[in-house]
Symmetry: C2
DNA sequence: CAGTGGTCTAGACCACGTG
DNA sequence: ACGTGGTCTAGACCACTGA
């Protein structure tokens, strides 16, 4: 039942922030004064404050004090997995094509490649039941001796494809989300006969040195994909 | 130049994780053994480990040890602001309508309202230069004595609208992103004559007690909005 | 039982910012 | 000079897991 002291300190300060008693920019009591009011040692107070700093509620400035932050209300946490997006889960895939290509100019730009570097192209269709709900293209920069595993190519998400030869911790990812109308090829693949918008998600993968190692574009039928995100605060 | 010891410990363990020497599920050395190898006290080691825990690299289990996590490669950080999305920044707005309404059934469901609760409806158009690029609807649950400020209604983002009467720290937010075709009304507002998809972003706001307090839907012309997100790892 | 992580103390020295 | 936060020590007691 008894919360650790540092948790009590956290709750106390959060309550004061939530209630508006402490507003963004306000100074919170100094560490020494918190030691006195809670009757604990400084390390205990600091443990609580460190967590509040980490959760984004306050910032500590050496020599001055700790201050309530402006809340970052534009920040959200998004979970994205091309195999399982909101309304639909992909339960089957069809491999359309796998080949090693020399990148087009656009791709060279996008992946920051020299023109003689080869790229693995994987085209897939995603099915939910018997319905094709998404068309997927992956471009993976080819390294000599790179293991290409059948299972991942057929069923894997993009990070899974590359997890076999790099630690996933070292990978940076970027997503770009947009709405587009399908071109003729995609209309054919997804059997689209009337105006049906696509939710397009571009995934870019980078290694620890910030070099691009892959580009993935997934085209979801508009009525088969919704992405969800939620605010990170209120932990 | 000299990094604090706890930072050195962090770097050391991160390096071992990135290189693959420590794989997900592996145990990292115990706190006491890290004390010896780095020649520091236990609190210093614990400070480093606490940060690695917080950044998601490891998990500590009392009585057992600390272990490398499975990387959460589906998690991204998304920044969303209806006034400034990727390619386009809104530099002007037009207020179409502000009124207080009784919620429709659908809205009652969505905002979890009793039928007699009133709702403020704000309809706006967003312009980039002279071009209408987005249509925006906000539904705010009406509370007695709620200040309704002209400036926020005209120019504010959704969180800004409500920041006047609640601490933004206490607000939870959810986004739903989808692609849709415009209905007749929106086509008119945005002067859409040929098939142009919309990127639709629904924002839901909740107070600290998890009660819905607002719903916002923004319809972006497909060629005027891209959303960006990036992985949270590699801090 | 010995080893692990979780909490906590009562000091210390430092660099920084303000008067 | 004084108060602030940043780093660090050398102990302590606890609850938990595993042999």
């Amino acid at each position: 039942m008894e919360l650790p002291v540092y948790q009590q300190i956290i709750e106390d300060i959060k309550k004061r922030i939530f209630s508006g008693e402490l507003k963004p920019g306000d100074a919170i009591p100094s560490e020494n004064s918190l030691c006195e009011t809670f009757g604990v040692s400084r390390m205990t107070v600091r443990k609580g404050l460190a967590i509040l700093v980490n959760e984004g509620y306050i910032t500590s400035i050496p020599g001055k004090g700790s201050f309530v932050n402006e809340p970052d209300f534009e920040k959200y946490t998004l979970y994205f997995n091309e195999m399982s997006t909101g309304v639909t889960t992909i339960d089957n895939t069809k491999l359309i094509e796998v080949k090693i290509i020399l990148p087009t100019n656009k791709l060279q730009m996008s992946l920051n490649l020299s023109s003689n570097k080869k790229v693995i192209l994987v085209k897939r269709l995603f099915y939910s039941g018997s319905e094709a709900v998404a068309y997927d293209e992956k471009y993976l920069v080819y390294y000599k001796g790179m293991p290409v595993v059948e299972k991942e190519i057929k069923y894997g998400t993009f990070p899974e494809m590359i997890s076999k030869f790099t630690s996933l911790f070292a990978i940076k990812k970027e997503l770009t989300i947009s709405a587009q109308m399908p071109d003729q090829q995609i209309s054919k693949y997804l059997s689209l006969y009337n105006a049906m918008p696509l939710l397009v998600v571009e995934q870019r993968l980078f290694n620890a040195q910030d070099n691009p190692i892959g580009l993935g574009i997934t085209y979801f039928k508009g009525d088969n994909c919704k992405l969800f995100a939620s605010s990170s605060f209120t932990d």
